[in-house]
């Protein structure tokens, strides 16, 4: 994809190991699909759930340019089956087994882009507080689905895996209500995806340039975000960030 540059970054909550991160980003260049998910830390195996939701979403063949209603059930069902198969149910100790039966939860932000003559059209769908930002000349020109810091609560809407064992893997799934937004993006503009703590920080500070010039330098980005967290300007949480730059 020569007229598009995609970059991404993830970071665990301070005090946790890198592998504890439950935020995921995936993209598929040929389908021009992007997905970000934030696994809920109140449930377990949410990292697997977030990973499978993003992977299945971007690999799904069906277009989401004109709506999510038709593909949503297939995406969630395939992600559930993959999530279920990834867990060794029979050998879990009692404390994992008793909690895992309740299933896993995650936010989900989906995006697909399609080229027009000299620009791109995008369609975005969201469950929860993982956000998409529209950026022009290093300024935020819009955000979706949330547009102000006060909208971030402690109980965002989430996509549920459904219950775990003893129920089987392949069962009917609940399809949540997605919010949607569509628009046009011009050359020189950037679409930025971010999980909740960073999205809220962005809406509060507007400091987009601090992220854009560090995204290719993970060590610097880690250091910068740790500083924001330690100075209480940003909540200590896992972070996923991705930028799609139209060239």
């Amino acid at each position: 994809m020569k007229n598009m540059r995609v970059r991404s970054f993830t970071m665990s909550k301070l005090g946790n190991k890198p592998q504890d991160c439950e935020d995921y980003f995936a993209w598929n260049a040929s389908r021009m699909k992007f997905a970000m998910a934030d696994g809920a830390s109140t449930s377990i195996f949410s990292d697997i759930w977030a990973r499978e939701l993003t992977r299945v979403s971007v690999d799904a063949e069906e277009s989401i340019m004109d709506g999510i209603d038709s593909p949503a059930e297939g995406i969630i069902r395939s992600a559930r089956i993959a999530w279920y198969k990834s867990i060794q149910w029979a050998t879990l100790p009692w404390f994992l087994r008793n909690k895992a039966v309740s299933g896993s939860y995650s936010t989900l932000l989906l995006l697909q882009i399609a080229p027009l003559a000299s620009s791109f059209r995008y369609s975005a769908y969201a469950v929860g507080d993982t956000c998409l930002f529209m950026i022009r000349r290093k300024k935020i020109t819009g955000s979706f689905p949330l547009s102000s810091p006060e909208q971030f609560g402690i109980s965002p809407k989430l996509v549920w895996s459904g219950k775990g064992s003893p129920l089987p893997g392949d069962i009917r799934v609940q399809v949540p209500k997605f919010q949607s937004q569509a628009g046009i993006i011009e050359p020189g503009e950037i679409l930025l995806l971010a999980t909740d703590a960073l999205s809220r920080w962005l809406l509060e500070t507007g400091r987009i340039d601090d992220l854009l010039h560090r995204i290719d330098h993970p060590h610097e980005m880690n250091k910068f975000l740790a500083g924001e967290i330690n100075s209480k300007r940003m909540r200590n949480d896992d972070v996923a960030l991705a930028t799609i730059e139209i060239i």
């Binding site: 504890d20 377990i44 990292d47 404390f95 039966v101 003893p166 129920l167």
Partner: protein, 281 residues
């Protein structure tokens, strides 16, 4: 601001459960068909289960809390740890080493409304005992020793929470002095919190939960007043949780339930452990 410390593996919290094992605990808890000892043991076992549930992540049980359980009165004039070979333990050790596991059955409903009956394992860490007198002073002294050591190693942690469940007055002296000493101990985030739950065997006894004024207590009951005086004032975080559950609490309400039945016992345990759990990081 106190009681705001984040609770993490680097900065864990501490719960100490204290349970009366005196002979009168063999009497039925008011409004139930089981003894006070059975209901108290069940309630604490369930609360530990709940705490482990909250600390369970994909990689296992994270040590957000240390736990101690003190029993008093199983042997005359004696208070001791109810955990085998240990005093205070990280919560993951409790998860790994229950005394025994019980098989219980629950129904799981599938998306089409069909119920699947399934066995699950429920851990038990200590058994009900009702045997001798009520050496509550010794129990508080033991808690003070444990907390003294723990606070020295966790100076900035969320302050320890002690939950004492009893049905009668101490038989080894006046617990007020040591209770006040306990409530005077602190971390940088606030003073130790002492909760008291008085169990009643009287059917229809009117429970009095989280009183803010001693005049609400029965006038002729010195024990009720003593427990009021040796219960901490509820910090704001606990007050909010109690208010969310439509309980009649006010600034100044004490961490205390008098004449508790099973519902009040469970509620006190849940509120007592809920506010620190909301500081988990």
């Amino acid at each position: 601001m106190s009681y705001n410390s984040e609770i993490s593996r680097r900065n864990p919290g501490l719960f100490i459960f204290m349970v009366d094992q005196s002979r009168s605990m063999s009497h039925k808890l008011g409004g139930t068909h089981r003894s006070k000892a059975q209901e108290a043991a069940d309630a604490i076992n369930r609360q530990i289960y709940e705490l482990i549930y909250r600390c369970t992540k994909t990689d296992g049980v994270r040590d957000y809390f240390d736990i101690g359980i003190i029993g008093y009165g199983a042997i005359a004039d004696t208070a001791s740890s109810l955990l085998k070979d240990a005093d205070i333990v990280p919560i993951s050790k409790l998860a790994e080493n229950p005394l025994r596991m019980e098989k219980r059955v629950e129904k799981v409903t599938d998306p089409d409304g069909n119920e699947v009956e399934t066995e699950f394992e429920f851990p038990v860490w200590f058994e009900p005992v009702a045997n001798s007198n009520t050496p509550m002073v010794k129990a508080f002294q033991l808690a003070r020793e444990w907390i003294d050591d723990w606070v020295a190693e966790h100076k900035d942690s969320y302050p320890p929470v002690i939950i004492n469940i009893s049905d009668g007055a101490a038989t080894d002296g006046d617990p007020m002095k040591v209770a006040r000493e306990l409530m005077g101990m602190s971390t940088s985030d606030g003073n130790v919190l002492l909760w008291n739950c008085h169990l009643s065997e009287l059917k229809g006894a009117k429970p009095l939960a989280f009183p803010s004024d001693a005049s609400a207590l029965p006038r002729d009951d010195k024990f009720a007043l003593q427990l009021f005086d040796m219960s901490s004032v509820l910090p704001d975080g606990f007050l909010s949780i109690a208010q969310e559950r439509s309980l009649d609490v006010h600034p100044g309400s004490r961490a205390y339930v008098f004449n508790a039945g099973l519902d009040e016992l469970l509620e006190l345990l849940d509120i007592g452990t809920r506010a620190p759990s909301e500081n988990l990081q």
